[in-house]
Symmetry: C2
Subunit: 218 residues, 2 copies
């Protein structure tokens, strides 16, 4: 049974992990018989967004604590996880992947990746273990692997695609129900809610991404 | 195209809507071609639980604002929704369904249902429109309809089943991948995470519940 890490970044599309993408990832992994290990960094969120009004709220929330909502309490602190514990890694999207796991949403191509996130991604790629990334998460993945010229997709958004190229990546246009596979780096990406439009559409690409990641675990 | 309301109660299994159950409900509705209308009451949560430690947190959160995380911002205030706007209603579980939509988790059979929740459920049943409820939500539904002797399932938990009977309902044992249909009241229920054990298991019962609710909309 493959053991797959799911790296969360909070709980909610505007300041954390996109909830549908995370749940659809867990569903596809469970249906395929994989063992799931959810994880998140123990740090304050970049900010808290009121998802009704889209305004910033004057409060602090912790990425690991909020991610635990999606994981029903079964979650590890990212700092306690290494690639040697796992066969593959998947990073769902949502702004948390570009506000908490890195600051790409704020700084674009000048982004910095959270050191523990970069460490884990580097460990997976160095061990030839597959990494999947959804939605905007491929931007953070590209920054982490900027010396490896990763090929990724975030759908077809031109500004984001240009930023990915500026960070040393190669962007490939992709439909929401499809995946892009970088066979040099063992990376699988899908646009998910960068394209939408609805949950049934993103579910298709996510299922294909999960199946490909599991296939790559051998 | 059937228009189905999804009544949320926060965002997270221990103090709000069970996230997987809500997302799987949205997925099944979207795949079946239904139009989805998410809604939640504009009120403080009963409390906020740290989902990592299960301890109560010293803060306040609003049910509608937190539910908006699951709905990606597309959500209505429950008070602005009536059964005449919709063809059916589904209430996912999680403790929010028994802490915020009612206080069943605290008071058991002596529970009180939130007045707007009771109003909406009454409107649906009086209009012969179907209502689905998952996990612990059938307890709140039973209290709302205690004069109608509703038949529901929450799986096989004896204490909860006894409380349901004490509130005027009839409890039926049911497997996680099955549903119970009360044809007298047009109510469909499934145990979901009252039984679990995993997301792929609850997905089956939820898909069947959604299909039955849509069938009942004619």
């Amino acid at each position: 049974m493959a053991k797959i890490g799911v790296l969360l970044s909070g709980c909610g599309v505007f300041d954390g992990t996109e909830i549908h993408e995370a749940v659809l990832t867990l569903l596809a992994l469970d249906r395929a018989g994989a063992e799931i290990v959810c994880m998140a960094p123990d740090m304050d969120q970049y900010h808290v967004i009121n998802h009704l009004t889209q305004e910033v709220m004057e409060e602090k929330r912790n990425v690991l604590v909020e991610s635990a909502r999606i994981a029903r309490g079964e979650i590890k602190d990212l700092k306690d996880v290494t690639a040697s514990d796992l066969d593959g890694l998947i990073i769902p999207g949502g702004f948390g992947a570009a506000k908490n796991l890195s600051d790409f949403a704020v700084k674009g191509a000048e982004a910095t990746v959270n050191p523990d996130v970069k460490r884990l991604i580097d460990e997976f790629v160095e061990a030839d273990k597959p990494v999947g990334a959804l939605c905007i998460a491929p931007a953070t993945l590209t920054k982490a692997l900027s010396d490896k010229n990763p090929e990724v997709t975030i759908g077809n958004d031109e500004a984001t695609a240009m930023a990915i190229e500026a960070m040393g990546g190669q962007h490939r246009t992709c439909a929401v129900d499809m995946i892009h596979f970088d066979d040099k780096n063992n990376i699988v990406t899908t646009p998910a809610y960068m394209l939408g439009p609805g949950i049934k559409d993103v579910a298709e690409g996510i299922r294909k991404l999960v199946d490909k990641v599991l296939e790559l675990t051998g």
